[in-house]
């Protein structure tokens, strides 16, 4: 079939030219012509074939679309050029209207193929849009999930954080009639690790502890609240025992040494446990209680758990309230001083009086020093309170001295914090000056334990050189180190009540001997010995026989208002 070839080439060139630019055809003009030559031959065959077959025309239409001639213009120009030139270029005649039928079948084949192609492309782009949207939504969900996770988890340990824990705790309280427990875990000595080995080591330790807690407590929620604080939420406990088991497991897991940066570190933790019904309590109550209980565990020596105890908590709250109301009470003048006689055993003369502070509390009545002095020492108010007592007592002593030359000296207790206070010497000097009380009429009492704990000797020397008397109080409750006393500028020894107790009935020769030895030793050191808590005439007699210098106690007079002493001086 090599005839018509020139005609085929000429026609294909004209065809290519006609359709160029109707749509993007991914080939060069030369390549397109090549393709169209093939189609031209097929058309020629269609015109010549006997009988006429419509399938050839369809095929040519479809091939055009597959060659990416895919626009309405592409078809229009094709029909035009076929109609105008095909028969002429090929040197053929139109037999029996074949040309018209051929144009019809080419158009049909083209339209079908283009429609199929369009539908396919539409389907694929819609699918792509759907996939893209799904991916975008998935990515959004993931980033939201990540965001949520970050908002509710601790980035160091990966454990839930305070926010998530608080949510869960609150949720637990919405279910009525349940019990729950909170174990508040805090590492012992974590700051040391951080300070000595650095934050990196600290972080490693926290990560490991978090891991161990997570493993040891089963399904219960473990959260890191911050720093070295962790918390375990035990829901639906049936009794306290359930919480203790969890705490025990946590402590056991934590107590294993941890390898950090090649070093083995001993680790331990303390846990505060609160286990209770949700009814009548609240999340903040529980957390407060857990916090308090954790402190008890720490105070109790660490490496342990403590269980919340309502009574202890109430006592502590009461103490706290008492302590915090004390400064205002001092301002309002709720404190006053009672005086207890110190009497010479030989002859019964009133040597001195001990000033004892009292608090006339508006609701609790008169409080004795043992209920509040400890609190004042803790809070530091003791410095102001002590100074007030000192002024009050010195003023009173001065008044007695004005009445009688036989007036007693006042003995005032000095707390260790007062001795440590840099203003003490100035304070004492000032009080003596203002009241005009001779220094020898003021005695300051320091407890034996304070003296042994190493108070500033310089302060004591300064006081002594002013002429103030110094006494050791509560002697015999500590190591009773007389040798040490030699170094102190002390004039008097007040022997604790426990020693005097044994002399009550007279059937305890050992106590009596000890007391006798004590007195003898004190005397060799030139100390005056006063026995405290002397309650019976028998005790007084035995003490006198031993050679004890003076005594204080109910037998010689209860603490009382200054008027009692006034009366004695007036006699």
């Amino acid at each position: 079939m090599s005839d018509h070839e020139d005609g085929v080439a000429a026609f294909a060139r004209a065809w290519a030219k006609a359709i160029s630019g109707t749509s993007y055809i991914p080939m060069s003009q030369g390549e397109l012509e090549e393709q169209l030559r093939l189609l031209t031959r097929e058309l020629r065959d269609a015109l010549l074939a006997e009988p006429f077959s419509i399938r050839r025309g369809y095929r040519v239409g479809g091939s055009l679309v597959r060659a990416h001639v895919v626009s309405a213009e592409g078809l229009g120009r094709t029909i035009e050029v076929l109609d105008q030139r095909l028969l002429r270029d090929l040197g053929l005649a139109d037999t029996g209207g074949r040309m018209a039928r051929l144009l019809g079948t080419v158009s049909t084949g083209y339209a079908r193929a283009l429609r199929d192609r369009t539908l396919d492309e539409q389907e694929s782009i819609r699918r792509a849009a759907m996939v893209a949207r799904e991916q975008a939504e998935h990515a959004l969900r993931e980033s939201e999930a990540r965001f949520r996770h970050q908002a509710t988890h601790d980035s160091l340990t990966g454990l839930p954080n305070r926010a998530l824990f608080t949510d869960r705790l609150h949720a637990a309280f919405t279910v009525p009639g349940r019990r729950l427990a909170v174990c508040f875990v805090d590492l012992d000595g974590f700051k040391m690790v951080n300070d000595t080995l650095g934050h990196h080591a600290g972080d490693q330790l926290l990560i490991e502890v978090g891991r161990r807690l997570r493993r040891s407590v089963g399904e219960h929620l473990v959260a890191r609240l911050g720093g070295d604080e962790f918390v375990i939420l035990v829901q639906d406990t049936s009794c306290t025992e359930d919480a203790l088991k969890v705490a025990d497991a946590a402590l056991t897991a934590i107590n294993e040494p941890v390898e950090v940066d090649g070093q083995r570190l001993g680790v331990s933790a303390s846990i505060g446990i609160v286990e209770r019904e949700t009814e009548g309590s609240s999340p903040s109550d529980v957390m407060r209680a857990a916090d308090v209980t954790l402190h008890w565990a720490k105070e109790g020596g660490k490496r342990r758990w403590a269980l919340f105890d309502a009574e202890r908590n109430e006592n502590e709250i009461a103490r706290y309230q008492l302590s915090s109301s004390m400064p205002a009470a001092l301002e309002r003048g709720e404190f006053f001083v009672d005086y207890q006689p110190l009497v010479a055993l030989d002859g019964g003369r009133l040597r001195g009086v001990e000033a004892l502070v009292r608090w006339r509390h508006p609701t609790l009545g008169v409080l004795r020093p043992d209920t509040f002095v400890g609190l004042a020492e803790e809070s530091g108010l003791i410095v102001r309170l002590g100074a007030w007592v000192l002024r009050e007592a010195c003023a009173q002593a001065r008044r007695w001295l004005d009445v009688s030359p036989e007036a007693p000296f006042v003995s005032v207790n000095l707390a260790v914090r007062q001795i440590g206070d840099p203003g003490l010497i100035a304070e004492v000097t000032d009080v003596l000056e203002r009241t005009g009380l001779p220094p020898a009429r003021l005695q300051l009492e320091i407890t034996e334990s304070d003296a042994m704990a190493g108070v500033d000797l310089g302060v004591l020397d300064a006081l002594a050189s002013m002429g103030v008397r110094l006494a050791i109080d509560d002697f015999g409750t500590g190591y009773s180190n007389l040798a040490y006393l030699r170094h102190l500028p002390v004039r008097e020894l007040k022997v604790a009540g426990a020693f005097v107790e044994g002399l009550r009935t007279g059937d305890s020769p050992v106590d009596e001997k000890i007391m006798a030895t004590l007195v003898a030793l004190a005397h060799t050191l030139d100390l005056v010995v006063t026995a405290e808590n002397v309650e019976t005439a028998g005790q007084a007699a035995r003490l006198r026989a031993i050679g004890c210098d003076s005594a204080q106690g109910w037998h010689f007079g209860h603490p009382g208002p200054p008027s009692v002493i006034d009366a004695q001086l007036a006699i």
Binding site: P26, G30, T118, A128, Q135, A136, S143, E144
Partner: protein, 269 residues
């Protein structure tokens, strides 16, 4: 909850997309009604728009063939669009059966579509990324897995830079890509140029894109020269795209009507 910063853009097919409008100009049906409406508005304003797209695509085809014939085996097509007729990998692999092509586009639909078409073709990859963060492209693990950056790569940035405003410094972005390339690499680039048009005509042409998600910044020839900094422009230089190494039978009359200027540069050995 506030949407986190890193949340992806949602897929919005209510807005015309450059990639799908472009497909429409080329005669494809990978487009939606919004895209066709925008494309038709464009054609009303600029009747030769389809011609422009086709001429540009033909330029890319000739350039890829040319480079493949020169032995380039690796291609990085940035702003590849909807991969339909005459993909870079089809052209390149026709010349060089072992040619590898990494496609990059910012349009998630185009990327999803490409992913489907390219599935099973181990010598291609497609990633979604932005030309404005070039390091993300040249350091992308999938790109790195496919292309060896110690060997020459032909980078195609065809009909893309007019969507990058001046303040994003297109020349700087291209330089950052260039710095990742080995000697013997190439840059194939074309973009819309307002050259030879009145202000008014240019404004009319490019206003249409304002409704699509991109603005168009047509640039004169001298603004495109810095894009080839470090490259040596091959003959015939930066020209109206139909004039870049046309096939002997191609019609190159009225070449300036296609608006696109393009060229190929080689990175010195």
């Amino acid at each position: 909850m506030q949407r986190p910063e890193w949340a992806p853009e949602s897929i919005d097919i209510e807005r015309p997309s450059v990639a799908r409008m472009y497909d429409y100009y080329l005669g494809g049906s990978h487009n939606f009604a919004v895209d066709r409406a925008a494309a038709q508005a464009m054609i009303t304003a600029v009747p030769e728009a389809p011609l422009m797209a086709q001429a540009n695509r033909a330029f890319m085809r000739r350039a890829v063939r040319f480079l493949a014939a020169r032995g380039v085996r690796q291609f990085l097509d940035i702003g590849s669009g909807i991969p339909t007729v005459g993909n870079v990998h089809e052209i390149a692999q026709h010349e060089m059966p072992d040619a590898r092509v990494a496609y990059v586009d910012i349009d998630p639909v185009a990327v999803a579509h490409a992913r489907e078409i390219l599935a099973g073709n181990a010598q291609t990859v497609i990633i979604q990324a932005d030309l404005r963060t070039p390091e993300e492209i040249v350091k992308h693990p999938e790109v790195r897995e496919l292309l060896d950056f110690s060997q020459p790569i032909a980078v195609l940035i065809v009909a893309v830079t007019h969507f990058i405003p001046d303040e994003d410094d297109p020349a700087g972005l291209i330089a950052r890509i260039r710095d990742a390339l080995a000697p013997g690499s190439y840059l194939v680039l074309s973009q819309a140029s307002g050259e030879g048009r009145t202000e008014e005509e240019a404004a009319e042409t490019f206003a249409v894109y304002r409704r699509a998600d991109n603005l168009v910044r047509a640039r004169p020839r001298e603004m495109l020269l810095p894009y080839f900094d470090g490259f040596t422009l091959l003959d015939p230089g930066l020209v109206w795209v139909p004039l870049w190494r046309p096939d002997p039978t191609d019609n190159t009359e009225d070449a300036d009507r296609v608006v696109f200027i393009g060229g190929v540069g080689s990175l010195g050995e």
